[in-house]
């Protein structure tokens, strides 16, 4: 169950509504989606179509689908999906949810609220968002802990445990406690002696980044290779940003877009530029490499990819573009990831040897201080 499902479930539970949770994305989901979707469409379309079919099979009568007002395909997912599903004989109401538009977004929830007013909907919504943020923090903790874990598999066990706790938390104060305990638990799971072999930032298309079941558990795979990862996109953050509660996030986002200007002269016209800006930020923040995850044929990310080699050269950071579709195989992806990690680890060693010869002391001091700092940042958040 993904973070979004937990959050939405919580919102509806509070509003006293029933909701059909589609089974987690599986091979069946993807192959169902791929069977009924047009062959050439991007992968998130196929997966969400599969999710919808599985939800409708379980008796759902309303389908809510994210949409946007940008110029890529997302805004046109729902009409195409509605047509395909109705052709398959399903009867339901399709509700597009535009989360670029804050009030509309909350308003849509009001429609489902069974006649409840803003006074009930707003707190339910905010609580859902809090759960979403809590779950995403758990993921961040995993990304930091896995390469340092005391025994193998500990991170995954902890994640399951705390995920269930978040899901069950009935109110904000319980949720707060759960978050604190989880932080402590994850910190204790680290082995003093283990340091990550490298740090990688994951940028690219949001859906592929956030769905472990379609990105072949990218974060976990890298973590098991001893790599600490960070993601540029979090749903919770982007919602909070959209409802204008996250000033800092907004500024960071705008900065990323400005940073991309040398590569895309009118970056606000092309969404892919965000990945470019985020790659440049990764250099500033001392990451050793960047993975650009994208669905095969994704329009904005293909644009990013087509200038990324220049970004990588100019800023001296290795970038691995990772296009994925339903034909991608896990073995192939793993091999590419391993080769990439090898490359950046070797590159890093070479660099630190050079640094040792010169200003070695300062360098290693900074590397040493990194672990605790990241945890502090989370503690505050």
């Amino acid at each position: 169950m993904g973070p979004l499902t937990v959050a939405i479930k919580s919102i509806f539970r509070r509003l006293g509504q029933e909701i059909v949770v589609p089974p987690p994305t599986s091979h069946r989901t993807i192959s169902l989606g791929a069977r009924y979707a047009p062959e050439l469409v991007c992968m998130p379309f196929k997966v969400t179509l599969g999710n919808m079919i599985e939800g409708l099979e379980r008796g759902a009568d309303t389908v809510a689908m994210a949409t946007s007002h940008g110029n890529c395909r997302l805004g046109f997912y729902w009409p195409a999906q509605e047509i395909i599903l109705k052709d398959l004989g399903f009867q339901f109401e399709m509700i597009p949810i535009n989360y670029d538009r804050p009030l509309e977004f909350v308003g849509e929830f009001r429609r489902f609220g069974g006649g409840k007013g803003w006074k009930d909907v707003l707190p339910a919504f905010m609580f859902g968002i809090r759960k979403l943020l809590a779950l995403e923090e758990l993921e961040v903790l995993c990304m930091e802990t896995r390469p340092r874990e005391r025994e193998s598999g500990l991170t995954t066990r902890l994640f399951r445990k705390w995920q269930a706790a978040v899901d069950n938390a009935p109110d904000s104060s319980t949720l707060k406690q759960v978050r604190q305990q989880a932080r402590k638990g994850f910190l204790e799971a680290r082995a003093e002696s283990r340091e990550p072999v490298a740090r990688i930032r994951i940028v690219g298309e949001a859906y592929m980044m956030a769905e472990p079941n379609v990105n072949f558990h990218l974060q976990q795979k890298l973590g098991d290779m001893g790599v600490e990862t960070e993601r540029s996109y979090w749903l919770g953050k982007s919602v909070v940003r959209a409802i204008r509660l996250d000033r800092k996030g907004r500024r960071e986002h705008e900065k990323a877009i400005r940073d991309a200007t040398p590569y895309m002269r009118y970056p606000d016209l092309c969404t892919g530029c965000q990945s470019i800006g985020e790659t440049i930020q990764a250099v500033r923040r001392n990451f050793d490499g960047v993975i650009l995850i994208m669905p095969f044929t994704c329009m904005p990310e293909v644009l990013a990819q087509s200038v990324m080699h220049r970004v990588s050269e100019d800023h001296g950071i290795p970038v691995l573009p990772l296009p994925i579709d339903e034909h991608s195989d896990e073995g192939g992806i793993s091999t590419r990831l391993e080769a990439f990690v090898d490359l950046i680890v070797r590159r890093k060693q070479l660099k630190s040897r050079e640094a040792l010869a010169g200003t070695g002391a300062a360098h290693s001091a900074r590397a040493f201080g990194r672990g605790p700092t990241t945890t502090e940042r989370l503690g505050a958040g």
Partner: protein
Amino acid sequence: MARIGIPRALLYHRYHLLWETFFRGLEEEVMVSPPTNKGILELGVQHSLTDICLPVKLACGHVAAIASKVDYLFLPRVLSVEKDAYTCPKIVAFPDMVRLNIPGIPKILDPVIDLRKKVVSHERQLREVAETLGKSHLLKKASREALRAQSNWFEAEPEAKKEASFLFKEVGSASWRGLRIALLGHPYNLFDSFINFNLREKLASMGIEILTLKHLEPSSIEEEAACLDYPPYWTAAKELLAGARLFFRSDLVDGIVYLIAFECGPDALLKVLIDSESKKSPHVAYMSLVLDEHTGEAGVETRVEAFLDAIARRKRTSRVTVAGVR
């Protein structure tokens, strides 16, 4: 007098009259890249990303073919040509792709054309270009002439390739003669004879009447677009969908062939809508044809042949049935 290079690709196929007339009005020399050929495709493949759509790949090839011969490249960033609608994001970012991926690029003229929020006169859109060229004094006149020329686009005959090679069995079957087929697709898929293996010319030379969106009244396309259940926000897709519906509903054609470039973002979704329209009008035959750089001419012809044969057969049977009823 400066020499302005324009790649014969992407929106050129829709706005060639506008652009060429404009630069002539500024008293500049216009150099359009030659019609697509194998060499241009190879250049395009060499200078672009593997995963990008074929039309953009070809456009890169066209740019590379003329880059060293011109003083300026005209690559307008056409973001939007009407209120609340877009063109494809790849078209907007095309100048960047060119700049960063193709060596030896001259100065690029890339005015932003964005009519999403409000209408900007053609003159205003291109003021920057005229200023760069030091031709501001000619801007007004050039703009007026360009717009007048473009208004004839619907009537203008697209240039046809002369020497069409034929692989079609026995150079077409006699039963195909007189069939009316609509070709649907982005202008750069329809009017670039290389990308579609001369389909338009070949069919026409076999006595098949070819219709495109150009044969529909522009105003009727607009009207139809206004009453779509799900209006696409890409202008080209919206026109295609509206045009498709007009063709499906009317008696203008016996069949519709929808040409899609592999890896085209908007078309991948538009296909769902056009497929669904076709189900509502079973009396019009319909097929979609995906084109990429690996598509073989023979493969395309085989599929089109089967399609035409099926239509011809159906027409014959329906004539027989009608006769039988009588």
